[in-house]
């Protein structure tokens, strides 16, 4: 495994700047979304109710998750969509870059003229991709954790929504907001105890499951890139898998007609389990397994094929 750390650290260094940008970008989106909680927590419940089943499905609210509670709010505004989207995009970018990214330019070929094996390069690059994805997930999750108290997300829903209502007395839609402030309080017994304030464990569960699904997609992107050496193909197919999976899953929830196909969608697994709210389940291991299969398949095919002509 000669050269592993040299390749690993060089690849990390080459991506340090973009990793910082990704971290800051995702952290900003996370914190900015959380900042809407005090003003929206009361109103959102009513607004979503009127959106009907389609809207609830789009936001992953099929299990009676209360959107007015702190956890429910984080779920619909971040963890059921934007947050895993961003991590999945990063995962795909890293998975593609690992092998196919610099193969098209000839830079990979030059590295392989040195006394290192293809196995070492594949392992070091994949390990580094996992590290970067982990660091960005952890830091963005941490940024949410430390800013929770600023937006009252660490407090139970009843006090939070009251505060939200009183804070929004100057808002033009106070009249519509007031009746809904009672709604979360009355529906809480039916939901999964989500009216409690958000804890560090909740953030960990949500962030870890998002990291997991992004890692699974990174594994697919790696496999495609390593097997073909074609950046465009790997990027296209892996992205389509993430985006198409989302569309398939949400459409299937609305119409019920494509349900048998949704098993290939990473979103079925992710949204149905809603680990931010329900806690980690055993099947959080599935995307890790998927990533491992993707890595092994990509690696074996990479060993056997010709490099692309730069």
């Amino acid at each position: 495994m000669s050269g592993f750390w040299t390749i690993y650290s060089r690849w990390f260094r080459d991506r340090l700047r973009s990793t910082i940008f990704w971290t800051v970008g995702i952290a900003l989106v996370v914190v900015a979304s959380a900042a809407f909680y005090p003003s929206l927590s009361g109103a959102s419940g009513g607004g979503l109710d009127s959106g009907g089943a389609a809207m609830s499905s789009l936001l992953g609210l099929s299990q009676g998750i209360d959107p007015g509670s702190p956890l429910g709010f984080l779920w619909i505004s971040l963890y059921a969509n934007i947050y895993p989207w961003m991590l999945m995009a990063l995962g795909v970018a890293l998975g593609v870059a690992a092998i196919a990214g610099d193969e098209e330019t000839g830079a990979l070929e030059y590295l392989l003229a040195k006394p290192v094996t293809r196995t070492t390069v594949a392992l070091a690059r994949m390990a580094c991709a996992v590290t970067i994805l982990f660091v960005v997930s952890a830091l963005s999750g941490l940024s949410l954790l430390v800013t929770l108290p600023l937006f009252d997300l660490d407090e139970p829903a009843s006090t939070t929504t009251a505060a939200g209502a009183s804070a929004s007395t100057t808002a033009p839609d106070t009249a519509t907001a007031v009746p809904t402030t009672t709604a979360p309080a009355t529906t809480t017994p039916a939901t999964t105890g989500a009216t409690e304030g958000v804890t560090a464990v909740d953030i960990f569960n949500g962030t870890f499951s998002s990291f997991a699904v992004a890692l699974g997609l990174a594994g697919i992107a790696f496999a495609l890139g390593a097997a073909t050496g074609q950046k465009g193909l790997a990027l296209g197919v892996a992205s389509a898998f993430g985006i198409g999976g989302y569309v398939l899953y949400t459409l299937s929830n609305m119409t019920g007609s494509l349900e048998p196909l949704t098993w290939i969608s990473p979103w079925r697994w992710y949204v149905d389990d809603a680990m931010l709210i329900n806690g980690l389940a055993w099947d959080v291991a599935l995307p890790f397994l998927g990533a491992l299969v993707g890595f092994v398949a990509g690696w074996l095919l990479f060993l056997r094929r010709d490099l692309q002509n730069p």
């Binding site: 050269g3 060089r10 830079a107 003229a113 730069p310």
Partner: protein
């Protein structure tokens, strides 16, 4: 080890395209072998097979007693690709540290004299470098570990004449120190000074192989004879050692393979007024052979 590079029936096909076609090569230790051919003749494909970037469709090859797939073999090879590409933000110094760090003999690496020799600016990022400057980075990287075998793909393309000269000096030094060199080029004159043997490759086939001595022999021996009135070149074709005689206005251009005594005697009889020896351009010979190579083999 009798041979450093040996290929037998080496063939690479992509669908209907045969890039390299039953190539048999034998390169001895310490030899400088120039692989000459036009663009797309299969030179780079051969280099890429030697280094295990791509696998042959047919045939076998041995490099330094093993194969290019073995990192221990690649540790003894210095490679210059036809078009070096590195991460855009990587500087020459970064590249030297990074690729040097991957070498098995990293403690023996001394890039400084090479940096000085080629006038490399080591702290500029790769994206800002011109073709010639990228070439310099590639040359420093290829030579810095003092490899036993150098595989150089179009090494002088993009270099100015002074740097080409510096490169040839370096190559001669490494050769004197016992290194084996396999290089590709499409310009015969470029390899004239450094190569011991030349292989002409055409459409993936080895059209002709000859030593530099044989090649130089063909380059000399052209004599231009001027006469006061036109002379039938046939008068000279029959003279001993004359291989070719063509009329050009009142001159006759004669190629000789051997002593010129008989030719001069006959020319004097015909009233020659001027004698000029002409060095034939190696590239002309190359092109001539190249064109002939397609049919004669």
């Amino acid at each position: 080890m009798d041979v450093v590079i040996q290929t037998e029936g080496l063939t690479k096909r992509w669908g209907a395209l045969t890039a390299v076609d039953h190539l048999d090569l034998q390169i001895a230790p310490g030899e400088c072998y120039a692989f000459l051919g036009r663009n797309g003749a299969g030179k780079s494909t051969t280099a890429r097979m030697l280094l295990d970037f791509i696998r042959p469709t047919e045939g076998t090859m041995r490099v330094l007693g093993g194969t290019g797939s073995d990192p221990a073999v690649r540790a003894r090879i210095g490679y210059l690709p036809g078009d070096l590409n590195l991460p855009r933000a990587m500087t020459g110094a970064d590249a030297i540290a990074y690729f040097g760090g991957l070498e098995q003999r990293r403690r023996a690496i001394d890039p400084e004299p090479l940096i000085e020799r080629f006038g490399l600016q080591p702290h500029r990022p790769f994206r800002e470098l011109s073709t010639g400057n990228r070439r310099k980075v590639g040359l420093v990287l290829a030579f810095m570990a003092n490899p036993e075998l150098l595989i150089l793909d179009e090494p002088t393309s993009g270099l100015d004449p002074l740097l080409q000269e510096a490169f040839r000096d370096l190559l001669a030094e490494r050769k004197a120190a016992g290194a084996t060199i396999w290089l590709t080029s499409h310009v015969m004159a470029e390899v004239e000074r450094v190569a011991d043997r030349v292989g002409l490759v055409r459409d993936g086939k080895l059209a002709r192989e000859l030593t530099m001595a044989e090649l130089r022999h063909q380059a000399t021996g052209q004599i231009r004879l001027s006469f006061p009135a036109p002379v039938d070149p046939h008068e000279l074709r029959t003279v001993a050692h004359v291989t070719r005689a063509e009329a050009e206005a009142r001159d006759v251009v004669v190629a000789v393979d051997g002593p010129v005594t008989d030719l001069l005697e006959r020319a004097a009889e015909l009233g020659v007024t001027g004698i000029e020896t002409e060095q034939r351009d190696l590239d002309d010979i190359f092109l001539e052979m190249y064109e002939a190579g397609g049919t004669s083999t």
